[in-house]
Symmetry: C2
């Protein structure tokens, strides 16, 4: 363990190589840390400046401000924080919008920046005309309006939704120089509120022959997916609210199926129909579009789970460190099979690891923010994060993942189409000039 | 306890008078509930209709939809869900915008609908030019940019912010016929992410003589408040993110002081200065504007805490029930002194009470959603909620509160000015036609 002497002559322990600091070392000894860390970069660990001249009075301190709007929007200075679009010309094909994780913090994805994928554009649905039908192998088929649904017992929960094709650029044999938004931006997390599907199935009754249900959307592609009935009786929800307000149009307004932990497209948006059946439908989206192909040429018929994953959002590609000193490594971890157990971080390419702090509360099938302070000495560094969930699953190394699932043989854009459910470790290489590259460590 | 016979002849227990149902009675017996509850209102408890004709194909099911925007907005059908404004003409005075709790669900207030009060309009601050200075009784005064602040260890937490004048209309001797938005809309809850003030004070050092700090905003009123130093060393935060993205302009962009549980105006927005001092400043906003006056004519000098409170958001004034049957009573509880312990609900004006379910996770100094199923028999009902926190505080009845704090002697708009920190029980009277009135039970 490397040692520094702080102003009080006390030893500051590092927890792993190349500058990773035990978070507890910070508590109650910031000054000491500053003294130990700040060598040559001014008085403060993170580059704060000594107070020189009196406070300036910029225009906004001298004049009456803007009006208060009924629905407030963010500052014009945030205009560059946007989702990146796969179909900006709105051609008649699918459209991806990716969440800018490298520009966000915490565990909630704001509604304006939640990722979306739509196969037929975004339908402009009148909620008063929309209906949800539950039929098929039920005792009594029922039709629900938004109003009748709202009278049933509701639940709220944080849950991530992730496209099965998220992280697909990492099937590339060479690391693509892309931001965390381009690599991992097809996952987001919100607080969803709605009615559990099990509550509605108690109203319709279930024919014992029913083993699956088919969910269908009201938009023009009528995307449909088959789901085992056991998920309906577990945590499936008809979601009506997203972070407290009605769903965003791109996220399924006025109602969507939420299947916590299952691949995004199964969380059918604009939900209009749930049919209980004896066999899966083998719809296009499950038999073709979302059937990952293996190196053998065989394909998974069904691949529901989004498995344990983590990635560092700061620092990441597109950021540039402003010289040596104290930084905080921050990232997101999540798993479709349960709460995150721990996240380990390395700054030396995986030679040594330190345990990151997990932001409480750690919730099942939701984003967990992890953080670890880091003293960058100005030399080369390779940053990795690796997550474990409480079900005992561990995020694979890239070598382990590629051995099992193969690498890309075709260039984008077919990437996400043939190769899905990528969840290995992501590595960032910090150069001596502070620039961050995507690397395979 | 009243009994109903369900289809299987089992008894359904009510937990309190006038239709309150034990939430556990619902589990695994929805049909039974429907059978017991649905008398005369169709097959389903909550008025769902039997499936009649085949699925309709509205326009949005037949045509290609709208384009995907870089920053998505809500549906045009939600345009009526807005904050109500106290100063819609943008006159040169303060501006209140209230959260429409009766139209929201869950525990998160979406950023567009978070309440705001600004005394000099909303400043249009360039984050790159903004500075935070910490000076006064410190060992070394420091100046922080948004960039240097972002390098320090961060924390995220859910926290409500509530104006000291929230609920002031309930000082009226007669119940005002207003929505929950007008009565209680000056409170909201978000996930805030930023740097703990204690972390920055470890950088500056603290002169032992410092017992208070003064926080000042960068907008033209330069609102300033004095805060005991012990709060700085407890959970005070310099908040930079609100529900994952940068703060909304009306909520303090680019940075605000967050003092969980303390009255809203102390959570100084557009924060530019923290000065450590030996005595409070007795600024206008603490010596005049936010000093609640008692019946004796004396005033509180300081009243920091927002005490334990709850209110039912559904059903509430402005809603109309569509006939007898199953509904869910839903509301919000919170306390500035710790996590919510329990919420009791009455449907008979306080003669009998049932314990509501609390949505997990129950977090300290954050909104907690409570819910309880209710079978409305079509007769008159008076709905109340009462909250307890884990510090042993209980929400007072209106009679208890008025005895201690008095009633209003002047009409609005001076209400919120002279009378603050109102936290008694709110009561809703349901008439036989389903309309909901504000009543004093």
């Amino acid at each position: 363990m490397s040692k520094h002497r702080d102003m009080r002559g006390q030893a500051l322990e590092a927890t792993a190589g190349n500058g990773l600091i035990d978070r507890r070392a910070l508590l109650g000894r910031g000054i000491a840390l500053a003294g130990a860390m700040g060598a040559g970069i001014g008085p403060a660990a993170a580059g704060a400046e000594p107070l020189a001249q009196p406070l300036a009075d910029p225009p906004w301190s001298l004049e009456f401000g803007d009006r208060t709007p009924p629905y407030q929007m963010r500052s014009k200075f945030e205009a560059k924080v946007v989702r990146t679009l796969s179909n900006p010309k709105h051609e008649m094909r699918n459209s991806h919008a990716r969440t800018p994780h490298h520009q966000l913090e915490g565990t909630t994805t704001p509604n304006g920046l939640h990722f979306t994928i739509n196969h037929g554009g975004i339908p402009d649905i009148d909620p008063d005309q929309h209906r949800l039908v539950i039929h098929g192998l039920v005792k009594r088929p029922l039709e629900f309006t938004l109003e009748t649904l709202s009278r049933y017992p509701m639940v709220s929960r944080a849950a991530f939704v992730e496209c099965g094709g998220n992280s697909a650029p990492m099937f590339s044999p060479e690391p693509l120089q892309e931001t965390v938004q381009a690599l991992h931006g097809l996952a987001s997390c919100a607080e969803w509120t709605g009615v559990k599907l099990s509550t509605l199935l108690e109203e319709t009754g279930i024919d014992p022959r029913a083993t699956w249900f088919i969910a269908e959307g009201a938009d023009s592609p009528h995307l449909s997916r088959s789901v085992p009935i056991k998920k309906a009786l577990d945590d499936a929800m008809i979601a009506l609210y997203q972070n407290g307000e009605r769903l965003m149009p791109g996220n399924g307004y006025p109602m969507r199926l939420l299947l916590p932990g299952y691949e995004g497209n199964m969380n059918v948006k604009f939900l209009r129909r749930i049919k209980l059946v004896e066999q899966p439908a083998l719809s296009m989206y499950e038999a073709r579009t979302y059937s990952p192909i293996l190196p053998s040429g065989k394909a998974y018929r069904f691949y529901f789970l989004q498995e344990v994953k983590s990635f560092i959002t700061y620092p990441s590609h597109g950021h540039a460190l402003k010289g040596p000193g104290l930084y905080e490594i921050s990232g997101i971890a999540y798993s479709g099979t349960g709460p995150i157990e721990k996240v380990m971080v390395s700054a030396d390419g995986g030679q040594s690891w330190a345990q990151a702090a997990l932001q409480e509360p750690v919730l099942s099938k939701a984003f967990t923010r992890f953080r670890l302070p880091w003293r960058w000495n100005g030399g080369p560094a390779t940053l990795l994060s690796r997550a474990w969930d409480q079900s005992g699953n561990v995020q694979p190394t890239r070598a382990e993942f590629v051995a099992a699932r193969g690498e890309l043989t075709k260039p984008p854009p077919v990437l996400g189409f043939l190769n899905q459910h990528y969840n290995s470790i992501t590595s960032w290489g910090v150069a001596t000039n502070g620039e961050v590259k995507h690397v395979y460590a």
